[in-house]
Symmetry: D2
Subunit: 369 residues, 4 copies
């Protein structure tokens, strides 16, 4: 059964709610793991004060008995510590949903828009993504991420893809390259000083995935499209790249495509992975690599020019919150997005009412590679 999810909740409401459906029975679901993922999302140099107020905790209210999934929908709640709703927000903030949201929903101020369009929503996606990660982990699949750029500062390529999260989580901006991390923090400090903000790039990797997940047979089954949709729906993401898709568009075919060789064990090997683990809309057995490009945070301390929708006058947008750069947290949200996409595509292929069934089916898939 395809795994699906839905989230609900406003930024300063009492709590967030989310439901993930289709997890087979028999999956160990430890709420501490989910809490750990939630706290990973709350880290990061350049975050505003709210991050200090809240310490998100997932409360699982259904679908899990004695720490094990029972096949029923898993509902999760996360309390909002901050519940002071904004007063009327009429100086609509450029780069946010404010103005279009007010027009669309007929509001006289943008606060109900800001409440739901807030990146606070990703807390729930991270919680549901954590369940997806537990599902994937059962098959030996790890979804991890790291910051690869903040503003103009880019990290070096990795020598090794092991323990990405363990290494990234130690760093204040989740960058594995220490020198780049230093320059990123400097860049953030500079932006803060300017009353400005920064974006950047997070790279999500999924390793250990068997070949043949997703499919070319129908556009809605292609895994690349599915991943782009999930990652592209994380607030602030304006571009999504699979493998070396952007650079790859500039080079010759002979410089891009990953040649295939016979391995000694009768399997196949590739020496490069420019395709980012996906060919023909399917996994090819290599590491999946996805890059999410985040725009700079749209709320600037030094408010942008805008219009007050009530007075119709040109004004400065207020600074509701003071994150300078959300790329480190955004990477964790993008991880959740990739995990949810992959989990959905994989569960479609595996089916299975129990994890035992799913695991055996995966093992067979693995041996057929």
């Amino acid at each position: 059964m395809a795994i699906e999810y839905i989230t609900a909740g406003e930024s300063h409401g009492e709590m967030l709610a989310g439901i993930i459906k289709g997890i087979p029975a028999g999956l160990g679901v430890d709420s501490r793991f989910i809490d750990g993922e939630l706290s990973r999302r709350q880290l990061g140099y350049g975050r505003g004060e709210r991050m200090n107020i809240e310490r998100d905790r997932a409360k699982i209210i259904s679908g899990v008995i004695n720490g094990t999934s029972i096949g029923s929908p898993i509902a999760i709640l996360i309390d909002n510590a901050a519940r002071d709703r904004a007063d009327k927000l009429t100086a609509v903030r450029p780069g946010h949903a404010d103005l279009s949201g007010v027009i669309k929903y007929g509001f006289s101020d943008a606060s109900p828009v800001a409440e739901r369009a807030s990146a606070r929503e990703t807390a729930m996606r991270v919680a549901l993504g954590a369940v997806a990660k537990l599902y994937l982990k059962t098959f030996g699949i790890a979804v991890e991420s790291r910051t690869v750029a903040i503003g103009k500062v880019r990290a070096e390529a990795l020598d090794s893809y092991t323990d990405i999260n363990a290494r990234a989580d130690k760093d204040a901006v989740r960058c594995i390259d220490a020198a780049a991390s230093k320059r990123m923090r400097d860049e953030i400090a500079l932006a803060k000083e300017r009353g400005d903000t920064l974006g950047g790039v997070a790279e999500v990797t999924a390793s250990g995935v068997v070949a043949g997940i997703g499919s070319y047979v129908s556009s809605d089954l292609r895994l690349d499209g599915l991943i782009m949709r999930e990652v592209g729906s994380v607030p602030s993401v304006k571009a999504v790249e699979i493998g070396d898709g952007i650079d790859g568009s500039t080079v010759f075919g002979s410089e891009f495509h990953d040649r295939i060789y016979a391995a000694e064990n009768g399997k196949y090997i590739r020496m490069t992975n420019r395709a980012g683990g996906i060919e023909g809309g399917m996994t090819n057995g290599e590491r999946i690599t996805v890059r999410a490009y985040f725009k700079p945070v749209p709320t600037l301390a030094n408010g942008l020019d805008t219009v007050d929708i009530i007075t119709g006058k040109n004004v400065k947008a207020a600074a509701l919150r003071s994150d300078v750069c959300i790329v480190p947290a955004g990477g964790v949200a993008a991880e959740a997005a990739v995990a949810l996409a992959l989990c959905s595509a994989l569960s479609t292929v595996l089916g299975g009412d129990t994890m035992d069934e799913a695991i055996e089916r995966y093992r067979k898939k693995r041996s057929a590679e």
Copy 2:
């Protein structure tokens, strides 16, 4: 009702089939317009011989009576002129679905994979996208595209966004910048001489869209995610960018976000459009701008190293077809993808059983901006 589509058909089968569902009654559907779109897809310097054989024609077999939609599903057929199926394809081509497809579906050769994974599928998507464009055109929305890069050659930014398709379609590589076009063709000629291939970038624009299409309220309703999915599911697309998403990740917030000003008529204006017409997952009334990054064609005249899946020996991949660069055609397919995504999101908001209803509802939306 949300507009949805499905395609079927193999590259060398008798014909392709597609169905688009949810088009209201009362839309003029002229098959000559669809044929025009199909022939736009077949143009392009750097295409192989097949393009000369076939002259695609759409045959509408349902949902349209006397040239007007009746609210029923619209089914379209396109004959395949070339019906000579490949012999066994065991030297699986890197960059294609071949190897993973064989593993997934348990084939002993990759020809059934190649048949369906072929970009021939996009012919049907262009036909259904043409119906979507007719729907959008009724509201004054135009979806157009142009080539912005082939290999390392990039076109200049546009001075004007009017008549993009009319201008691009005159050019052999669908590039509006004549000087760049010349260099692009040179680059393609060079690649051909090398037995190599090229990718590039197509930019799709949608102008005339009212604010508030798509929504931030749920991740699956975000228009950016939806567009990324549709465009990202066009074969060979490895990255999708909304607005200046990639460059935007490198600059300060003050350099990126599109400030809002009061217009004389009581409406709002922006002087820049770095957001590419989408903020908070919704249209903001500006031109939608989407860039699709295409990898180089994976079938090289000078075959890549690979493995024969039967013998297990390292061999060279055969050159099944000889396109050197498909970016011009790819842009037309990406246009169709954007049209289908936009049409789906818009129809969700408008509902409507008849075009008259839909048009009046759109007009009201427009006046509420």
Copy 3:
């Protein structure tokens, strides 16, 4: 946007959760109305003790600010007063999900099955259905129900279809025919005395619906199918009938079909409504009539023969709970199911981001009849 919902929660977990998505902004959502619906579900002669313990209350945690919907998903929680999970349930109860659930999900006892398969789930469906009813009420559509049969006792046909709920809710078995109600209660008392249970029939009506909701153009858009699915997924429902569908299968066409006449105002009238308000998968402007056939409660005080899945011995099924007849409550759940189906089909036709838009569109639909 199509209105959709999902529920989660176990019978003796901490709480139930549900989310309804797609309600436009601007709908008044009063939690007291939802609570009223929840208490209607808890009434009924023949219910067990649990009904006395719990007094269900809906807690709206998102999507509503100051009593008005904001277009975002509406999440609702309902606390479970009874949280004492059953001990191991190995004597699987015939007529329940127990045995198949254990086989499907690989459990060693049926308690996790019983937790989710419980009709307790319908509490959340009634809560979400209450939101759907508020949406429908805005258009003048009322969804109501009454008990038409319990066991072999059948109520007389109604003289008038006004105020059905007001009249039915006064009666202990929600039957509007007082004499039949008396005999129904006697029948329930007899069943209770026997250690037995009863089923029956509830009739749901929806009045005030404009013509043309649902569609014949595609099987998944037919309103009759959609209603049957929603009502047919209420636990214990084994048959669903639209209009006089069952008797209608026995008579001549001339005795069944509702003739159409010209009304003085240029509209159309029918003197009969055997079609139950749906022709060709669409509403025809007449009252929608749906009958849900409930099987007897499968848990009998006088336990049925069954097998203990651990010992493999023939045993008697235990009596977990002691409802003798749930038809009165079942009718309320079926009401919610019809409301959810209708609300989904109607919202697909209307679209609309705000209730004002939806209402104006509906008004236009009405004037086109």
Copy 4:
């Protein structure tokens, strides 16, 4: 992957089209089997002349190579022999979609409605259902049907459920009870003489299904609801019953529920099957039994009172076509509907890219019963 389908095509257009998606690779798809199913739909005493004109043939245009499915969408075309579209149809026929369709889609006559709302659409559903039956047959599942009532004449209960289709197809009204068949034909002859029509009841059975298909965990996963939707969306079906759902609502629980006993092989047996093979929204391993209640054909030779939508005058509805009773054909369509529902639910549980995988997974499911 869930198996899904879509149909398109008008009654007198050039052809019908349909696509079924999600069939794994490796299924033998013989178009003669599909043609056989199509001809079963065309049989039946009481059918009009059109049945003699057409001899439906399925043309598979994709998804099948050398008689075997390749995992890609399977598209099928069926030519319409009769292509003479009705002239304007303004005397809207009671019992048809005509009037509501005209209102909904803004037509000035009902012929475009009649074209698509026609039961001709079920030809394609029978063709796609035939593919579903081939899929199910691989697992030993047979979906069959028989006429159980025409008008007031009811067939006796069956002594044996073997070879239902083989026995029913020999009979002019697809009734296995020869005496009842004779009376049914008499009844049809009488109706014809009266210029009238008849409905009736078809019973569909699915045997050989493993326990645990469908699920109680979410209302949209319940197999009973899914079957009711598919069968309820067959034109003219006004009620759907699972097992003895209607009679079951009148009896005591002790008279209805199917007791469970230990079998000698460690499995479970039931002596009765009043639940019709579905408990808790899941299969329980017993034969699935579904009854579809058909209203009388709404086009009467002796036209019903109606209104001409142009003149606004009371007139008689014209007799477009002259079927007196479509229950025998309707049963075949209902069979297809059950096959499609079951195939979708089963494929969700099994997943699988190849039939070999699916078969092995099913075998494991069987051994876990």
